[in-house]
């Protein structure tokens, strides 16, 4: 992997390896250590829950991981691509419904259902995004259009009889499930699956961010016209990132429906789901691989804590999300990850001052 700055002939210093510090932000030793520590802490919590957690805790962690990973998928488009979607429920719902329909109605293995859902969602994401990009719909309008697409799917699915109309689909639980049924008698198995999914999403995110594709996205996000002038095919890059994000989201839909064993149009396609997906990423930090997972974990933890100590109303988490999003929009545009980074800079500056004196 080469840094983009090495492409320019910089002959001012003959010494190799003296890349200016500003040219490679986020690569200082301190930052890397902290990322490792954050990752290790997260891993520790994950293992601890598996080893010592009650079934209740395990269930919470499974859903938090699934939605955190789906938020990670959102962040590929919404963070790295700058395409703020309020319609990811469409992809989530396509994944969940395709799997449930094929499994409950035709006995097709959910693993195959996942593949079908992923392909469908990717095609849907690519087509809708192509239209938006083609007509230069961006920013808040892009969010509105995605919201409308998801609503259209919700209305259609609520009226299609083979998909159970507004009653949804109940996924049958087999008495002795095999691996091919993507059903398990031990809740730890679902948890392990959620962990695996989260790891895969995180790795995909990191790969996207650090390859040429990610640099192209970054260029497009910064200035579309300048990127186009430098030879980046803007339309292709944006369509590709949304297709990828949709595909990964749909896989999460499959896991979710196999875990919950039920799906209906509200659970799958309602704007609440889209907003939930987007917000976990925004709160955690949509530009950082572990941000959405951290955001999801933080939100679930806070919600549960409030439910236990203040009120068990289901509106509690809506309220919390609302406050957190306003804070993120007003003060912490890079979410929890951004807070961490500023705290580090502050520590770093203090340390320098100490070392210097």
């Amino acid at each position: 992997m080469t840094s983009s700055s090495t492409g320019k002939p910089d002959t001012s210093t003959g010494k190799p390896g003296t890349v200016p510090v500003q040219a490679r932000p986020g690569r200082s030793g301190l930052n890397r250590t902290v990322k490792l520590v954050a990752g290790a802490l997260l891993a520790l919590v994950i293992v601890w829950i598996a080893a010592a957690g009650s079934n209740h805790l395990l269930g919470l962690a499974t859903v938090a991981l699934m939605f955190g990973a789906i938020s990670g998928a959102w962040a590929m488009a919404g963070g790295l691509g700058g395409l703020f979607s309020l319609g990811h429920a469409a992809f989530f719902g396509i994944g969940a419904y395709t799997t449930a329909f094929l499994f409950a109605g035709h006995g097709v293995s959910p693993w195959l259902g996942m593949v079908a859902g992923v392909v469908l969602a990717a095609v849907f994401g690519a087509c809708t995004t192509w239209l938006s990009v083609r007509f230069r719909v961006r920013g808040s309008y892009f969010a509105l259009v995605t919201l409308a697409w998801a609503e259209m799917l919700r209305v259609i699915v609520s009226n299609v009889t083979p998909l159970g109309r507004s009653n949804g689909i109940l996924v049958p639980y087999k008495a002795e499930p095999t691996f091919a049924d993507l059903q398990f008698s031990d809740p730890r198995a679902y948890y392990a699956l959620a962990v695996l999914y989260a790891v895969v999403v995180t790795v995909i995110f990191m790969v996207v961010k650090r390859t040429r594709f990610g640099w192209r996205l970054s260029a497009v996000r910064g200035d579309e016209d300048a990127a186009a002038a430098s030879g980046v095919d803007v339309r292709r890059v944006l369509v590709a990132v949304m297709a990828l994000s949709a595909a990964v989201t749909a896989a999460g839909g499959t896991l979710y429906v196999q875990y919950m064993q039920f799906i209906d149009p509200e659970l799958a396609f309602s704007p609440t789901v889209s907003i939930d997906i987007a917000i976990r990423a925004v709160i955690g930090g949509p530009m950082v691989a572990l941000g959405p997972l951290a955001g999801s974990g933080a939100m679930t933890t806070m919600t549960e804590w409030l439910k236990m100590s203040v009120s068990d109303s289901p509106a509690m988490n809506v309220l919390l999300f609302g406050v957190a999003v306003i804070l993120a929009g007003r003060y912490f545009r890079n979410g929890l990850a951004g807070i961490g980074a500023s705290a580090l800079q502050w520590i770093g500056r203090r340390k320098e001052r100490h070392d210097g004196s």
């Binding site: 703020f84 719909v137 309008y141 259009v145 009226n159 509106a315 609302g322 957190a324 999003v325 545009r333």
Partner: protein, 287 residues
């Protein structure tokens, strides 16, 4: 084709469309002046419904009269929101206002659920059972009064923007912010005033809808989507355009009900929405 059905659907479309219209007017005003798509608009509509429901329980006054009270509440709340929250994230791209208004909307919905629970409520005016007929079709008087109230409110807002100093400053900022600032206008105050009027029309639209629809914490969402469609269709920023477009949306919904069964009728509206967003880039996407 059954004429009774056609008259019923399209007439109903016009009546409902006028309510979409008055909601869209607020959205268009905020967009035209502040340049922000207000994602809290639906939650404001919903709060307007609850204000009227609550006051109606308490005083049993006419719900359309109480809608004016709701509008006044909206005026204050809108001002507060713009002054304290949205103004602070202006000029940092579209994502800041988007996040803040989505957050406000979540908080409003949660508060409504805490205070009023999610049980559906309803408001029934004293003339709730009266009907009138147009040719073969029958409509309830409540819907007619809702339409008249919506038209009256829109006309009043139009006059405020045309004839008063406040209206002139709002229009000045919407036409050229920098020039308005150089002429000594306080842009932050004008933004707050525009959001206040936008919220007032949302609250009023909600107050009017309280007699037509079940009142729930999530009732604002579908009304918001309809008013988004209307505001965009009307060219975002134009008051008369937004109101007329509201009626077009109502008609489209009515036509959808003729062609498709049940909830599928809204599909026609969303299809219209996507088409408009995609095909009318001028005045819609570039500001």
């Amino acid at each position: 084709m059954d004429w009774q059905l056609v008259t019923q659907s399209l007439g109903g479309g016009i009546l409902t469309g006028s309510v979409y219209g008055v909601a869209a007017v607020g959205l268009a005003l905020v967009f035209g002046v502040v340049g922000v798509v207000n994602f809290a608009h639906g939650a404001m509509i919903m709060l307007g419904m609850y204000v009227v429901w609550y006051l109606h329980q308490w005083t049993s006054l006419d719900p359309f009269l109480l809608s004016l009270v709701a509008a006044v509440v909206g005026l204050g709340l809108g001002w507060f929101i713009q002054y304290v929250l949205v103004n602070k994230v202006m000029g940092t791209g579209q994502e800041g206002p988007l996040l803040v208004t989505v957050g406000i909307s979540l908080i409003f919905v949660a508060v409504a659920e805490f205070v009023f629970s999610s049980n559906p409520r309803s408001v029934k005016p004293s003339y709730g059972d009266a009907t009138f007929s147009v040719g073969p079709a029958q409509f309830s008087v409540t819907r007619l009064i809702a339409m008249l109230a919506a038209v009256a409110f829109t006309l009043a807002l139009h006059n405020v923007l045309r004839k008063t100093d406040l209206g002139r400053s709002i229009r000045a900022v919407s036409q050229n912010r920098t020039a308005a600032q150089l002429m000594g206008l306080n842009v932050a105050t004008v933004y707050a005033a525009a959001m206040a009027l936008g919220a007032a029309s949302a609250f009023f639209a909600g107050g009017v809808s309280a007699s037509l629809l079940p009142v729930t914490p999530n009732a604002g969402l579908s009304l918001m989507l309809m008013s988004f469609v209307a505001a965009v269709l009307g060219g975002l920023g134009s008051i008369r355009g937004a109101f007329a477009a509201g009626i077009i949306v109502g008609l489209a919904e009515g036509a959808g009900a003729l062609l498709l069964e049940g909830t599928l009728k809204t599909l026609v509206v969303f299809a219209l929405f996507v088409l408009v967003l995609l095909l009318r880039p001028e005045g819609v996407f570039k500001r």
